[in-house]
């Protein structure tokens, strides 16, 4: 992926940067910029300038109410009261052949406040000007909300800290409530949201066209309406299934941790072991009971049929037996053949070629009267006889078979009750267990366990219901398709509308397929990339085993022996994980966006600094990284790594501290 680059940032009267610009090194082999400044000079302000430009927020300011106003103080002080000062920040982005200038500007009116001069906020403006390098004359300028949409495609504000990274604020990175935000934003920047919007839009069009089709054919309209309802149900059920699976995984993980903790505690180990065995027994019995219910259902159906039809089966067999014992089955002579001879007044006998006179016909008639069944009937009856006998015999075995079933149920139920009873006892013992150990509160863990087990049960129920709804809805949609096809085939007048609907449906299916493929691949791609980068950054090669990112985009780090250790990472390891995750998200999103990092190595311990610096240097071959160091962070070792590859710039405050020096003016 060719990188998206921040080419330049321009300031006008913006805080201590005043009016000036910084060009970034976008042409070299490494897209690496290093800005060195003491704390308080303007490192974080540079990050704020970028976020103010893109989002109209200075994300790194703790308390915006008490912060200084945006316009450069010296400019404010020099201006006459009543003057309007324009503050602006322009960020130029390069994306292949496109040049995008994001410009935010705001007016401030100078007023007197006591002895000081200050400003009041005026109107603000935001634009995104998009120019193709090959066609400079035609620049498209988007304003306000449309410009915001362009920003969202590159630097979704919801996950701004995955682009504009503050190394000092790692705690926020992995907060639980962030994961859903991350998930939605990953989908947004990878344009999965775009696909969803296209699909929704095309679905609305399909519905509108179907209404057209159904306008003079209410029956078709009913079918289309029903189909839309089923599609909505299907969508809901799919979401429910996904949520259920996430909840299931989470519950299983939590239970695993709890069980491990409990089984590690010696005084209750035998209870734990017994409980594990009993739970396995209960699971097995559950399956056996399910099989029993299935067998019982088969039995009920079979005997409902056999016993209700018993009189008919018996009667049929009886008349077959009667015909057989009277020698009428099979008939020696084909009754139909004889009847044909008589009806057709045949001249000769087909067997012996003899002439058929009146006497012969009388004889034939007598024969016919004796024959009660035709050959066809005879064959029919003989074909079914043995099956009838078996079915009647089977019907008579009802009592024995039922008894076996009853006995089986009694046995299974008794075993289940016994196992569940003992489980209940153990759960009660453990819930009230008075731990001697201060490290492990058994009863608390037990209660947690019960909570998570209930959550797991609920998740399984949700999954079951969702799967069932999905199956039914899919089948119904298919059936309705077939019915609609039957109807619409007859209506030539609606050909064009039908064709449009067909194209719409094909595209919707196509977009859905693309979306599913991207989504399913994305999570595992992010997971494996995060692991690869994390592993390359960390010096401990025998500690970490793997990283897991679930469907909710929550990260878990595991040791080599499978223990969860996300909560026990050092600051350096957290930093490495944050970088790894960030870079993985960038890669998976399909857009190679730049990274601006304030204090990139600030929390990294000395022995890891070089390693991490080298990894970031390597990454900058394919991705723009802009780093804001303090002089302390930019140690000689780090300087040595970056000296030949990065554009280095020092920033410092002017002697009167009114403006940042080191910026081009």
């Amino acid at each position: 992926m060719s990188p998206i680059l921040i080419d330049r940032i321009e300031f006008e009267n913006y805080r201590q940067y005043g009016t000036g610009h910084i060009n970034f090194g976008v042409d070299g082999k490494h897209k690496l910029d290093v800005l060195i400044a003491q704390n308080g000079t303007g490192k974080t302000t540079l990050l704020n300038a970028i976020t103010w430009c893109l989002y109209q927020k200075e994300h790194q300011i703790a308390d915006t109410k008490s912060a200084l106003p945006l316009p450069n103080k010296a400019v404010v002080n020099k201006a006459k009261v009543g003057t309007v000062i324009t503050v602006s920040v322009k960020l130029r982005i390069l994306d292949g052949d496109l040049i995008i200038d994001f410009t935010r500007s705001q007016e401030f009116k100078v007023i007197k406040q006591g002895k000081q001069q200050t400003v009041i906020d005026g109107p603000a403006r935001f634009t995104a000007a998009i120019t193709d390098k090959n066609d400079f004359k035609n620049t498209v300028v988007k304003n306000e909300q449309d410009a915001d949409i362009v920003v969202k495609q590159y630097f979704d504000e919801a996950i701004f800290n995955f682009y504009f990274f503050d190394g000092e604020k790692l705690k926020e990175f992995f907060a639980d409530e962030r994961s859903q935000v991350v998930r939605n934003s990953v989908f947004n920047i990878s344009q999965v949201t775009l696909l969803e919007n296209a699909t929704n839009h095309l679905s609305s069009m399909r519905y509108a066209h179907s209404r057209k089709l159904g306008k003079n054919a209410p029956d078709i309209q009913k079918l289309y309406d029903e189909q839309e309802e089923e599609r909505a149900l299907l969508k809901q059920a799919r979401q429910s299934l996904s949520d259920g699976k996430i909840a299931q995984k989470r519950a299983e993980e939590e239970l695993e941790i709890i069980n491990k903790a409990l089984s590690g505690y010696e005084p209750i180990r035998h209870y734990q072991n017994e409980r594990a065995e009993l739970e396995a027994t209960v699971r097995m019995l559950k399956e056996e009971l399910a099989q029993f219910r299935s067998d019982r259902a088969d039995f009920i159906r079979r005997y409902t049929i056999l016993l209700n039809l018993y009189p008919r089966l018996q009667h049929t067999l009886a008349l077959i037996d009667q015909k057989e014992s009277s020698g009428e089955l099979p008939p020696a002579i084909d009754k139909d053949q004889v009847k044909k001879l008589i009806d057709n007044h045949a001249k000769t006998c087909p067997l012996c070629d003899g002439a058929l006179d009146a006497a012969a016909f009388v004889h034939l008639q007598e024969l016919l009267d004796k024959l009660s069944v035709s050959s066809h009937t005879s064959n029919y009856l003989k074909e079914i006889k043995s099956t009838l006998e078996r079915e009647i015999e089977e019907a008579k075995q009802y009592k024995q078979k039922k008894e076996k079933l009853t006995q089986r149920e009694r046995d299974l139920t008794a075993r289940e009750e016994k196992a569940k009873g003992r489980l209940k006892e153990i759960n009660s013992i453990l819930s009230n267990f008075d731990s001697e150990s201060k490290q492990i509160d058994v009863s608390k863990l037990e209660n947690k366990r019960t909570t998570w087990q209930n959550k797991l049960k609920s998740a399984m129920k949700t999954i079951g219901a969702a799967e069932s709804t999905i199956t039914t809805a899919k089948k119904r949609i298919e059936d309705l398709d077939a019915e609609i096809e039957t109807f619409t085939k007859k209506i030539d007048a609606y050909n064009e509308t039908k064709q449009i609907i067909s194209v719409l449906e094909s595209m919707i299916e196509g977009f859905d397929t693309i979306k599913e493929n991207i989504m399913s691949g994305m999570r595992s791609e992010i997971e494996s990339t995060t692991w690869a980068i994390f592993d390359s950054m960390i010096w401990k090669k025998n500690t970490f085993g793997s990283i897991d990112i679930n469907d909710a985009y929550e990260i878990t780090v595991y040791s080599k022996d499978g223990t969860r250790m996300t909560g026990s990472l050092s600051a350096t390891e957290q930093m490495a994980l944050a970088y790894a995750y960030t870079l993985a998200i960038h890669r998976a999103s399909g857009k190679n966006c730049p990274l601006v990092i304030d204090s990139p190595l600030g929390r990294v311990s000395d022995d890891n600094r070089e390693n991490m610096a080298k990894v970031l240097k390597e990454i900058s071959k394919d991705k723009q990284i802009i780093m804001l160091f303090t002089p302390d962070e930019y140690s000689s070792a780090v300087k040595h790594i970056y000296k030949d590859v990065a554009t280095v710039r020092e920033l410092k405050l002017s002697s009167d501290e009114s403006v940042v020096e080191g910026v081009d003016r």
């Binding site: 088969d298 049929i305 008349l319 009660s372 099956t387």
Partner: protein, 147 residues
């Protein structure tokens, strides 16, 4: 009398489709994996003594070609089991005619099944236990008293 068409299809009343779908969705009485031929013969058995002509919209449910030799005896006996004269035996030894009668029996049978399910208020376990209990009485009436 509604005639079974010369074709292969065996019909049921369209109004029972959603009920049967519900049984399938909730996997009542093993309906989830039950093919249509099997559910049909169940309904035939339940309604065998009260055939009713289906006067409403019909829906293709299963096919004659799906009836195997092992099934034939049962399907055939629905009609043959009413024959009293030789003429009737010859006339009733006809699977197509038997299927016509089966369709009418199923019309009643599905209604009976639905009523029983509604009485159980959708409780599948209760519904199955009641059906099981009904079999005891049926066995006594049909088989024990006959032996």
């Amino acid at each position: 009398m509604a005639k079974t068409e010369a074709g292969d299809i065996i019909y049921i009343n369209e109004k029972y489709r959603s009920f049967i779908d519900e049984l399938k969705t909730n996997d009542v009485l093993g309906f989830k994996l039950l093919d249509n031929k099997e559910s049909f013969i169940l309904a035939v058995a339940l309604g065998v003594n009260q055939p009713t002509e289906c006067k409403k919209k019909r829906f293709g449910w299963t096919r004659k070609s799906y009836i195997k030799s092992a099934d034939k005896a049962m399907w055939a006996s629905v009609l043959l089991g009413t024959a009293t004269t030789d003429e009737e035996i010859n006339q009733y030894a006809d699977l197509d005619k038997s299927i016509e009668l089966c369709e009418q029996c199923a019309e009643t049978g599905f209604e009976i099944l639905k009523q029983q399910y509604d009485k159980a208020e959708g409780d599948a376990e209760l519904f199955e236990r009641r059906m099981m209990k009904a079999l005891d009485l049926l066995y006594t009436q049909m088989v024990e008293n006959d032996i």
